[in-house]
């Protein structure tokens, strides 16, 4: 059965309304300040440390993103933590909020499909996240210019921009997850807790669990144990399992994109290093190639979550 009319009619209206809601909401204010303050705190520390090496390091700007100065973690690790928080904060009451305000049936009685409502909410969240990330990015570049006194090279700008895109993909994934749970659970509190729980599990617990599971699935050969070396088979399992967590994928892409010296992600076999100049930087295109599968996985994950949410939403009763 073909549907009449465009699934996108009304998309613009929904997106603009939701975007305005996000940008003016108190929730967004809180999240923004949280992110800006922690990010600036991390940056100030890093800049002091990096400043001493300005002359010798060709990628000093990228160091702003990746260097950590005790006791604060690096700028990117803070973001890796805060981006999901922000995305979940924007999405956890997307659909159940409409249910609970009893506005859903009135909105859906207008000539739009449910597609437009869901897509509009996702896009508005994504645009909000993009705005925040761009502001943060400008903040880093600006502070770097001011305090380091050298302009970033073209490659540094491109690499940090690639970082921006990856961060947005990562944010999109958690936004899609939050919206999915906002469809499944009628109570926003339940949806928020479930999404946060999933995030904590995948970010904190899963990386700790995956070696054990890999060990159980593919126990290392006794020979390797004797030599006190890791078994490559076990390592492959370990890595595969760890990559089920989006935060692992995100970390891997960041390593490739922000650190030109990264030649491979995960365990490296000797033959891969043949002819390689250890420590010499890779060109941007090569770094992107390394990170490509991870980035695609993040985007694919987002699409899968969105589609599952879409299917559930289509079948849901509109009445409160």
């Amino acid at each position: 059965m073909r549907r009449e009319g465009s699934p996108f009619s009304g998309l613009g209206a929904v997106t603009t309304k939701e975007l305005a809601d996000h940008l003016s909401s108190a929730r967004m204010r809180v999240l923004e300040w949280l992110i800006v303050l922690t990010a600036v705190a991390a940056l100030i520390g890093t800049i002091q440390q990096v400043r001493d090496t300005v002359s010798e390091d060709p990628f000093v700007f990228l160091k702003l993103f990746t260097e950590a100065r005790q006791p604060l973690p690096s700028f990117v690790s803070i973001l890796a933590f805060l981006i999901p928080l922000m995305a979940i904060g924007l999405g956890f009451d997307a659909v159940n909020g409409e249910h609970n305000r009893r506005t859903l049936s009135r909105v859906l009685s207008q000539p739009i499909y449910r597609d437009a409502l869901l897509m509009g909410k996702f896009l508005a969240g994504l645009i909000t996240l993009a705005i925040s990330l761009v502001v943060l990015w400008l903040l880093v570049i600006g502070l770097g210019l001011l305090l380091l006194g050298v302009p970033p090279s073209t490659e540094e700008v491109l690499r940090s921009f690639a970082f921006l895109v990856v961060a947005l993909a990562y944010a999109g994934l958690w936004l899609a997850a939050a919206i999915l749970f906002s469809i499944v659970f009628r109570s926003p509190a339940t949806a928020a807790l479930t999404t946060l729980g999933l995030w904590l599990f995948l970010t904190v617990l899963w990386p700790a669990l995956s070696p054990g599971i890999a060990y159980a699935i593919s126990p290392p050969h006794p020979l390797y144990q004797l030599l006190n070396q890791p078994d490559p088979d076990t390592l492959v399992w370990e890595q595969g399992l760890a990559r089920l967590s989006p935060s692992t994928l995100f970390g891997e892409v960041l390593r490739a994109v922000l650190n030109p010296a990264t030649r491979a992600i995960g365990p490296i076999f000797l033959e891969q290093l043949e002819g390689a100049l250890i420590g010499s930087p890779l060109p941007l295109a090569q770094s992107l190639l390394i990170a490509w599968p991870q980035l695609v996985s993040l985007i694919a994950g987002t699409i899968v979550l969105f589609v599952v949410g879409y299917v559930v939403f289509q079948r849901q009763e509109v009445r409160a």
Binding site: R3, S9, G10, G12, R101, R102, R106, V107, P111
Partner: protein, 317 residues
């Protein structure tokens, strides 16, 4: 006139339970049609199926000749819907709320602003147009919902429990606005369990019971069916042998004397003109003549009493 809404054997099942069980009815253009019935009778479910907001299990429904399941956007573009206890975004003003729905309807900016202003005035909300809806009373929200339907220039208005929770005056105002819709040639379908209120505006009604339509027709038709004779005409007149003369008027089933020179006639229609003729013809003096229209409440109660009575007999057998 062509049927604007038509349902044939329309059925909705949730699992094993039927919320709507094979109902058929049709609503003509410009008519005010009432879906009446107790809680859980299936009124809202029927409405949601007409808007394509819930799937039809069996049978079919056509609105303006369109299938809401196949062409929901066209149907929803021509049909205005006021949900049961309508809600708006509380943090947005009345005008902003309408502007959002107007954009969903695809109206351009100039059109939007003109219509919002016009309709807010029509429902007497112009002076609170820029107040957040969170501060609105129930009646104001209901009127705002009606403004939304007016703004759509809908050909069909579907109103679910439009008067529930309103005080008598607000109800009266709202019913006035519903009549106003009819005068603009809008077909209105409304659901309610406040029978005596909606009786005044409905051209025809369908009585729902447990997912089925138990009775359908104009109020006086239903009265004839259920109460036997629906109209009670009170006559106060002086004259000889009036009771016998009144009894022979066609359609009159009984005449009883309720006092000195007072009679109460039961009839299946309004027989006041004939009664007046009879009194004058007999050389009597007519002092007062009044009619009690059949009340839907009475019909409703009597009907379900009968049903329950029949049920008990069946159970006993």
């Amino acid at each position: 006139m062509n049927a604007v809404i038509e349902a044939r054997n329309l059925t909705k099942r949730y699992g094993d339970a039927s919320a709507v069980d094979g109902i058929s009815f049709s609503v003509a253009g410009g008519e005010i049609f009432g879906l009446l019935g107790p809680n859980g009778a299936g009124k809202t479910t029927t409405i949601l199926m007409m808007l394509g907001l819930t799937d039809v299990t069996d049978g079919e429904v056509r609105v303006l000749g369109l299938d809401p399941a196949r062409e929901p956007l066209k149907v929803k573009g021509h049909v205005g819907y006021l949900p049961d206890s309508v809600s708006f975004y509380d943090n947005m003003t009345a005008a902003e709320n309408l502007a959002y729905t107007a954009r969903l309807m695809g109206l351009d900016r100039a059109e939007r602003e003109a219509r919002i202003k016009e309709e807010l005035e029509r429902v007497q909300l112009a002076d609170v147009a820029n107040k957040p809806v969170g501060t609105f009373s129930r009646g104001m929200r209901q009127r705002l919902g009606l403004a939304e339907i007016l703004m759509k220039k809908a050909e069909v208005a579907i109103l679910d429990e439009p008067t529930s929770g309103l005080d008598p005056q607000a109800t009266e105002e709202l019913l006035g606005m519903i009549r106003d819709l009819k005068s603009h040639n809008v077909t209105v379908l409304l659901s309610s369990h406040l029978l005596d209120r909606v009786q005044k505006v409905c051209d025809r009604v369908a009585l729902f019971q447990a997912g089925k339509i138990a009775l359908i027709g104009t109020v006086s038709e239903l009265a004839r069916q259920v109460l036997g004779s629906g109209f009670a005409v009170e006559v106060e007149a002086e004259g000889a042998g009036l009771a016998e003369k009144l009894r022979v008027i066609p359609g009159v089933s009984s005449v009883e004397a309720t006092g000195v020179n007072r009679f109460r006639m039961l009839a299946d229609r309004d027989v006041r003109p004939e009664a007046a003729n009879v009194v004058v013809g007999a050389g009597g003096k007519l002092r007062q003549l009044s009619v009690d229209e059949p009340s839907l409440d009475a019909i409703y109660n009597r009907f379900f009493q009968k049903q329950n009575g029949a049920g008990e007999v069946r159970d006993a057998a």
